[in-house]
């Protein structure tokens, strides 16, 4: 395992709902709004598809931060999906915090299809926060990392 001493580049997984946030990310691209390449997006139909297991899995495999983006409450393509997602993530993040995992590593942000600028700004800010925290040591499967 080699840690780059000169610059730490975090691994960030972003779950984006197909109808709003993924489109918002596309818009950020269309408008050439920069954000760090550390962010990798996974497309899901709706934020309510995001199982807490996915988030834990990401941390297990070495993610340093996980962010979930969905339509603004009330604007869900499936009318109610993000309301359920909101409860699930609130409780999960609270639990992670309770277990002593840095709460800044997790984030939920509502990004509409028109909010390319918000998407880019959110990612810039999130990457900056996670970079400051450094490598995710408290939740990581060392066995996978060494492979």
């Amino acid at each position: 395992m080699q840690v780059n001493e000169k610059e730490f580049k975090p691994t960030i997984v972003a779950f984006c709902c197909n109808w709003c946030s993924y489109a918002g990310a596309d818009l950020a691209g269309t408008n050439r709004l920069n954000y760090p390449a550390d962010v990798k997006i996974i497309r899901v139909p709706c934020s309510c598809r995001v199982n807490p297991m996915f988030i834990l899995r990401a941390f297990q495999r070495g993610a340093d931060g996980v962010i979930m983006c969905g339509c603004h409450p009330g604007d869900c393509h499936y009318t109610t999906g993000n309301y359920y997602a909101r409860r699930r993530m609130t409780l999960l993040f609270s639990m992670l915090d309770y277990l002593g995992i840095e709460r800044e590593r997790t984030r939920v942000e509502w990004v509409s299809a028109a909010e390319g600028a918000k998407f880019a700004a959110t990612m810039n800010e999130f990457v900056e926060t996670v970079t400051k925290l450094g490598e995710n040591k408290r939740l990581e499967d060392l066995r996978c990392k060494e492979k």
Partner: protein, 663 residues
């Protein structure tokens, strides 16, 4: 093991400028399962697509990864491409290396590294992709229109015109709705009854249209193309097949003091009644709240005078069930109650009326036979004050936050008609803004001012106080001359805000259609799909979607009909194959998934299973109706046992992407 082909697109220089496409296709070549990897200038071009097709045949590919623009752009294109080469369209995954990579990163090395990771994630996912086939469900070729006002009538007529059966369910004893109560229509001033009643008759006579009047929808089951609806036909105590509508009973009935709702309580009707002369169906209805025979068994006059023998005091509510392919909500509106607006003295003075009451007072079939007379003393009013925006644009909680849209125009109409018929009358209109965006609308309003001398005053009425002499003291502000006015009026007409009918909310619940905070139905898309509800197979017609005037209502009604016809024309509906499915052997039967499903797509049943220990057991298990499921995935997370999964976005697929990204 899949045989995967990787195709990296340059998108001209859009991708190639900041991503080393050669390096990407080279790097992905060594991923497990990848048997072919290449790059090309424009993958979406015909040449690019042919390249994909050729590679599929040449290398026996089972899965395809395309590194290109957003899947929102060309996923459908490439699915078609691979289908053309004989593999299932759902064996394609797109790695978005343009919008989410080349366009946002300036450094080529960074961009290339990220593109490779995105490609790896897509490859990892394709490994777990399974061929998906879109399901089909049949379409019942019959439509239901809920509400028989002008919106419902127009929708039904247009659907019937296209050759489909259509039923109208109307809660009142007759169809026609609010438009029957209106005297004249703006901006042409033709009489509402003259243009509406022929349409009502058309409905009655069209053999494709069936009218359930005095009926309500009580339950809706099913899904697009296949709804089952329970309709309660309320007892009217008259056999509609026998009643000829002669009206003798309505003249002989001894109960004469029933407030006539058609004239908004400004005169009376009998306990057995036909709402108005042109009612459709033209049959009598007994008002059970007032009928002596039904209340205490004493009377029976109507039965005695009815030569057709149509009176049936023992009639019961009847619930029938019918199947439909599409449902149109056309539940309409009502003026709001003015209880919160004491300052206008609506409840204190008979001479303060609503605009709808004004319509009845000027209608030839109304309580005054069309003579504009004060309700209090039956005298002709010489000074009339119209107050606009009563309860509209009100965020204080007393009224409605929205603009009711129609009041400016009908108030101009009322003012103009009054001045035309009674030139000796002074007419004042208090307005905040005059909103006339419509064809010939502003011209109409200007005519009221310029040709008919209606006094339009910018300002609001603050108080209406009845005086001892029978006049009304109207205290108002004139913002332009900056003074407070006191007008001694004989009649005050309030343009009350309109609100969705109270039946809309429970109906929306039954239809699982969404509503906004004002109880208007929401559209599937505010701009691009304005007559569809987000719930598939449910369409919106008229003011149940938002305030509208008659021309707008009719055009929306026809638009909704066009959408319904488009649906009913199909013999089968193709479903989205990326839907949830339940592994019955894992299902606990706990109903969590059912509770979070926004579409009611999940049902439970007891099924017999052969268990691993060779016994049989009856277990409660979930099943997903693939025609109804829209594939959001809420159920997959609610399911504690992992029995529920989503095709195309399965737990394993998403976790494989996570793994690929985090490596």
């Amino acid at each position: 093991m899949q045989r995967i082909g990787v195709f990296v697109c340059w998108c001209g220089s859009n991708i190639a400028a900041t991503v080393d496409v050669e390096a990407v296709s080279e790097a992905l070549k060594s991923e497990p399962g990848v048997v072919f990897s290449t790059n090309y200038q424009y993958m979406c071009s015909e040449a690019g697509q042919n390249m994909i097709k050729d590679a599929i045949k040449e290398h026996n590919l089972t899965g395809v990864v395309i590194c290109s623009c957003s899947p929102r752009m060309h996923e459908a294109t490439f699915r078609k491409t691979v289908q053309g080469a004989g593999i299932n369209p759902y064996m394609v995954e797109i790695a978005n290396i343009r919008e989410q990579c080349s366009w946002i990163h300036k450094d080529k090395q960074t961009g290339t590294e990220k593109a490779i990771i995105l490609g790896k994630a897509a490859i990892a996912k394709v490994h777990l992709n399974a061929p998906l086939t879109a399901g089909e469900s049949p379409v019942v070729k019959r439509a239901l229109v809920i509400g028989g006002g002008i919106a419902g009538i127009q929708t039904a007529l247009d659907i019937a015109e296209a050759g489909f059966d259509v039923d109208i369910v109307e809660t009142k004893p007759t169809i026609g709705g609010k438009m029957t109560q209106i005297d004249k229509t703006f901006p042409t001033l033709d009489c509402a009854a003259c243009i509406l009643t022929p349409k009502m008759v058309d409905c009655a006579q069209n053999e494709k249209i069936h009218i359930y009047s005095y009926s309500e929808v009580t339950a809706v089951k099913g899904f697009v193309g296949n709804f089952t609806v329970s309709i309660k036909k309320k007892a009217r105590y008259v056999d509609t097949t026998k009643c000829t509508g002669c009206g003798v009973c309505t003249e002989k009935c001894p109960v004469k003091n029933v407030p006539n709702e058609f004239n908004l309580g400004m005169n009376n009707r009998r306990a057995i009644y036909i709402p108005f002369a042109q009612a459709v169906p033209k049959v009598a209805t007994i008002d059970a709240d007032y009928c002596n025979m039904l209340k205490n068994g004493k009377c029976g006059v109507c039965s005695k005078v009815c030569t057709a023998g149509a009176i049936d005091y023992k009639q019961q509510d009847e619930i029938i069930e019918e199947k439909y392919g599409a449902i149109v909500a056309a539940t309409g509106f009502n003026p709001i109650k003015l209880d919160n607006f004491d300052e206008f003295a609506y409840s204190q003075s008979k001479d303060v009326i609503t605009s709808l009451e004004f319509e009845r007072l000027t209608n030839a079939a109304g309580p005054t036979s069309g003579q504009l007379l004060r309700p209090s003393d039956g005298k002709h009013p010489h000074t009339i004050v119209f107050v606009q925006c009563v309860g509209s644009r009100d965020t204080s909680g007393c009224g409605k936050p929205y603009c009711s849209k129609i009041c400016c125009m009908y108030t101009a109409k009322h003012a103009m008609l009054t001045r035309e018929k009674y030139p000796d009358t002074d007419v004042y209109v208090f307005y905040i803004d005059v909103r006339t965006p419509g064809k010939n609308f502003d011209e109409f309003y200007r005519r009221a001012v310029e040709d008919y001398n209606v006094h339009y005053i910018k300002g609001m009425v603050g108080k209406v106080a009845p005086r001892a002499d029978g006049t009304l003291d109207v205290q108002a502000s004139d913002l332009i001359s900056n003074e407070q006015l006191h007008i001694s009026a004989d009649l005050v007409v309030l343009a009350a805000a309109i609100e969705p009918d109270k039946s809309a909310r429970p109906l929306a619940t039954m239809l699982t259609a969404s509503m906004d905070t004002n109880d208007f139905f929401t559209e599937a898309h505010a701009k691009l799909r304005p007559v569809e509800s987000p719930t598939a197979g449910v369409f919106l017609s008229g003011t149940c979607q938002g305030p509208k005037d008659i021309p707008e209502t009719v055009s929306q009604a026809s638009a909704a009909a066009a959408k319904v016809i488009g649906l009913l024309c199909k013999d089968k509906l193709t479903c989205n194959p990326c839907v949830a499915h339940s592994d019955e052997m894992l299902c606990n039967g706990c109903s969590s998934c059912e509770k979070v499903c926004p579409y009611g797509a999940i049902t439970y049943s007891d099924k017999e299973f052969r268990m691993p220990d060779r016994t049989t057991a009856i277990r409660r298990v979930a099943a997903v109706n693939e025609a109804v499921c829209q594939g959001c995935g809420a159920c997959t997370v609610a399911c504690p046992s992992g029995a529920m999964d989503l095709k195309g976005f399965s737990n394993k697929q998403i976790m494989a992407e996570v793994d690929a990204i985090c490596k």
